[in-house]
């Protein structure tokens, strides 16, 4: 037999106007196990709270029921009152007789009847409530940032700035990401390298940042505050501890490979750093193109290296890191445009994609900044084709957001470097962003030809002498409604930005959900754009959706703040109303393990029963309803509690 106290609030007239409070109190007083029922004008007021606290002691109550406003308003208030009076806060039940009773009807009888029923339900349920204590866990103060592009760099620097340790994990030999490949950045046209490389160095110099290049996340275990991240350090065959970055090896190396950084437009050595300003400045050996690894002899680099840093025997190794939070900034891939035969990429050498052209512009690029084509000619006419694969049901339905602007940038640079004619073939010009529209009008004045229509075909089939030796872009100029054939020397495609090819694997490791394309899902599109369904894991940059540098950087900064809100606390409180398994009743059907979005339940194979990691549990109850034997007990919402409340609600 429990000892229940019921407190009914008038809330001034908000409740009392339609609910006959005294009648309700009398009703409550006559219910079994109710020791005392009281009413008060404002139970949430200080005297109201004192009334409750007093009664708890006076009548030595072990349950209290407050019939007032919605629990979403004052549940916390009354829980504090109970705790203060020595009663566990989970033994408080709030009955919502305002929002869902007195405010939604004018009929006194109806309101009073409903108030009684609701209180009766609460009494049924209160009997079965159990005290709960919330537990605290230690939080690991360090953060792992995955991806060394501008997003990852920014996040790492921000976190390091407040003195927290950051691990920056990058899978290529250098940080910098796509931004390092760009020549200029729109709309300001300042040099990408000039603004990026200082940040890259800052990363290198910062004692709080441990830079892990040529590394991949291999496994993530644990939960918010306590992640165990396993990192695979790919074999570099160069001992970076010894290497002094003289790069003599690179000079001597006979091996030749295609430069990933230059999008295959230039060669690189087998032992290489991706580009001059790479961070770190220390080289790696690419097995595929290394003469020694292919033929079994050479070892020139080894001979040349005074530091004896070359180590052909090196193998992949693993690093175990503990962290309180993780930020995923894994970026994007450019869509492969070969399959879109109508644009002739791969078939016609004069067709380029966006990243290739970026490299052509770059003074450190394969052509030392001159815009010359694969055949060595300088193009006198160039067509830039928008929306290649973007806004396209057959490929990617979304708009890649940056293409319009970088196409304008290309147009400007091409004008500057070639004085040729430049055509923009677009569907809609999207220039939303600070200074973007201005940039657009500037380009209009630069005499770029804008053709509103999506290029249909790029062909070599000429119709007349003028077209000889050119590529013909066929398009419906939708503004004149005329079919246009545009003879050009060079075609530049603006392909869709798509999720990383292995985004799904990363998502699986971090227990993130992805949208239908493979971009990481944010917890809420508006109110929690950087958080994810997994507490302690945040996302920034193009891994969430296509975005430009300004948006990426601001997201990165935000993600840093999000991560800090977690690791800046020494301990964190865990949800108390979590689920637990009554092993005696578990039949080992695995339903809970299968359905839980937080992987809180797991199977204890040798006992044949499931177990719940309460640190991961959010208390939603999904598993409890999936459990055929009610072995799972969702604290504070147990089957008995819910059904008892139902019984009380249905009695009168």
């Amino acid at each position: 037999m429990s000892r229940i106290g019921v407190f009914v609030c008038h809330c001034g007239l908000n409740i009392a106007k339609t609910v006959r409070v005294s009648e309700v109190v009398e009703f409550a007083a006559n219910l079994p196990e109710v020791v005392i029922a009281e009413e008060y004008r404002f139970v949430c007021s200080t005297p109201g709270q004192e009334l409750i606290a007093g009664d708890i002691k006076k009548y030595n109550l072990d349950r209290i029921i407050v019939a007032a406003c919605s629990p979403l308003m004052h549940e916390k208030t009354f829980r504090k009152v109970a705790e203060a009076a020595g009663l566990n806060q989970y033994l408080v039940t709030i009955v919502n007789i305002r929002e869902q009773c007195s405010w939604v009807t004018e009929d006194e009888d109806v309101a009073t009847k409903k108030a009684k029923a609701l209180i009766n339900g609460a009494v049924y349920r209160a009997r079965l409530l159990a005290p709960l204590v919330s537990r605290f866990i230690d939080v690991n103060p360090e953060v792992v940032v995955v991806g060394g592009g501008i997003a990852g760099i920014q996040t790492a620097l921000e976190i390091a700035a407040v003195g927290r340790k950051v691990y920056l994990v990058e899978r290529t030999p250098t940080i910098g990401g796509h931004m390092a490949q760009f020549d200029k950045t729109f709309p300001t046209l300042d040099c990408s390298a000039c603004i990026l490389t200082p940040k890259m160095d800052a990363v290198l110099q910062n004692p709080n940042i441990e830079l892990l290049t040529y590394c991949e996340v291999a496994e993530v275990k644990g939960f918010v505050g306590n992640f165990d991240v396993k990192i695979r350090q790919k074999a570099r065959y160069v001992d970076h501890a010894k290497c002094n970055a003289c790069l003599a090896c690179v000079e001597k190396c006979p091996g030749k490979g295609e430069s990933e950084f230059d999008e295959g437009l230039a060669k690189r050595k087998a032992i290489y750093i991706p580009f001059p300003q790479a961070v770190p400045q220390k080289p790696v050996i690419d097995r595929e193109t290394c003469t020694y690894f292919i033929k079994g002899k050479c070892r020139l680099c080894e001979k040349i290296c005074e530091q004896k840093a070359i180590d052909y025997e090196q193998a992949d190794s693993y690093i175990e890191i503990k962290a309180g939070a993780i930020v995923a900034a894994t970026g994007y891939d450019l869509m492969d445009v070969k399959p879109l035969a109508q644009y002739g990429y791969g078939r016609y050498p004069a067709v380029y994609h966006a990243l290739e052209i970026e490299r052509l512009f770059n003074s450190a690029g394969p052509t030392a900044g001159k815009v010359v084509m694969r055949d060595g000619r300088e193009p006198q006419s160039i067509a830039i084709l928008h929306c290649i694969g973007s806004r396209d049901k057959n490929n990617y339905e979304y708009c890649s957001r940056v293409c319009c602007m970088y196409s304008l940038k290309f147009a400007h640079l091409l004008k500057e470097k070639t004085h040729g004619d430049v055509y923009q073939l677009y569907i809609d010009m999207r220039a939303g962003g600070k200074g973007y529209e201005e940039f657009y009008s500037r380009l209009l004045e630069e005499d770029v030809k804008f053709i509103r229509g999506k290029a249909a075909t790029v062909t070599h089939r000429t119709k007349n002498p003028e077209e000889e030796g050119k590529l013909i872009v066929e398009v419906d100029d939708t503004l004149t409604g005329k079919f246009a054939r545009i003879p050009v020397d060079m075609v530049v495609l603006a392909p869709a930005m798509k999720p990383r090819a292995d985004a799904k694997d990363m998502a699986r490791m971090l227990n993130l959900s992805t949208d239908k394309y493979g971009f990481f899902m944010e917890k809420h599109p508006k109110l929690a754009p950087l958080s994810t369904m997994t507490d302690g894991v945040f996302i920034a940059g193009a891994c969430q959706s296509p975005k430009d540098i300004p948006d990426t950087v601001s997201q990165a900064t935000g993600a840093a703040a999000e991560a800090l809100t977690i690791v800046s606390k020494a301990k964190m409180e865990l949800e108390a109303a979590t689920a637990m398994v009554n092993a005696a009743a578990c039949s080992g059907c695995r339903n809970c393990v299968t359905v839980c979005p937080y992987s809180a339940p797991s199977m204890n194979e040798e006992k044949g029963v499931s177990e719940i990691n309460e640190a991961l549990c959010k208390g939603c109850g999904l598993c409890a309803a999936a459990c055929p034997t009610s072995a799972i007990i969702t604290r504070h919402f147990t089957n008995e509690q819910v059904m008892a409340e139902m019984e009380g609600l249905m009695e009168f």
Partner: protein, 139 residues
């Protein structure tokens, strides 16, 4: 006097229960036959709760959750949707008027929708008369 049905509501904490509160704060009026049980997520609802509610004499049961995709727990309501769909089919095949059971996705901002649905559903259940089939016979 004419028949006043007992309706049990089961609402998820994050969307529908909050939506119901909003209906109150905006002082919308709707029939008071409904009595709402608050659970954290529509996925907490075990179909046996629904059967039980009818055994306890509910004339109608209304379940409310977040719109698919907006679940506070990500995918809870996706599972709930399947479970409750089956529940509906079961009631229908057992011969209990399917009109007595309804699932609605009502967000925290849809106070008016809540009032609307409850009004509509209450009317519908009234039309069906007292639920005697599953109700436990006491005597």
């Amino acid at each position: 006097m004419d028949f006043e049905p007992k309706i049990l509501g089961i609402a998820c904490n994050w969307c529908t229960y909050t939506g119901a509160d909003l209906a109150g704060t905006t002082r919308l009026k709707y029939p008071q036959n409904i009595r709402v049980v608050r659970v954290m997520c529509s996925s907490r609802i075990n179909p046996s709760f629904i059967f039980r509610a009818f055994q306890l004499g509910a004339d109608g049961v209304l379940v409310g959750g977040c719109h698919p995709g907006d679940c506070h727990y990500g995918t809870g309501n996706m599972y709930a949707r399947r479970r409750l769909a089956i529940t509906k089919k079961m009631l229908e095949f057992a011969g209990i008027e399917p009109g007595r059971f309804r699932v609605e996705w009502i967000s925290a901002s849809e106070g008016n929708r809540f009032a609307e649905v409850v009004g509509e559903f209450t009317g519908q259940v009234k039309g069906l008369g007292p639920q005697t089939k599953l109700k436990i016979k006491t005597d």
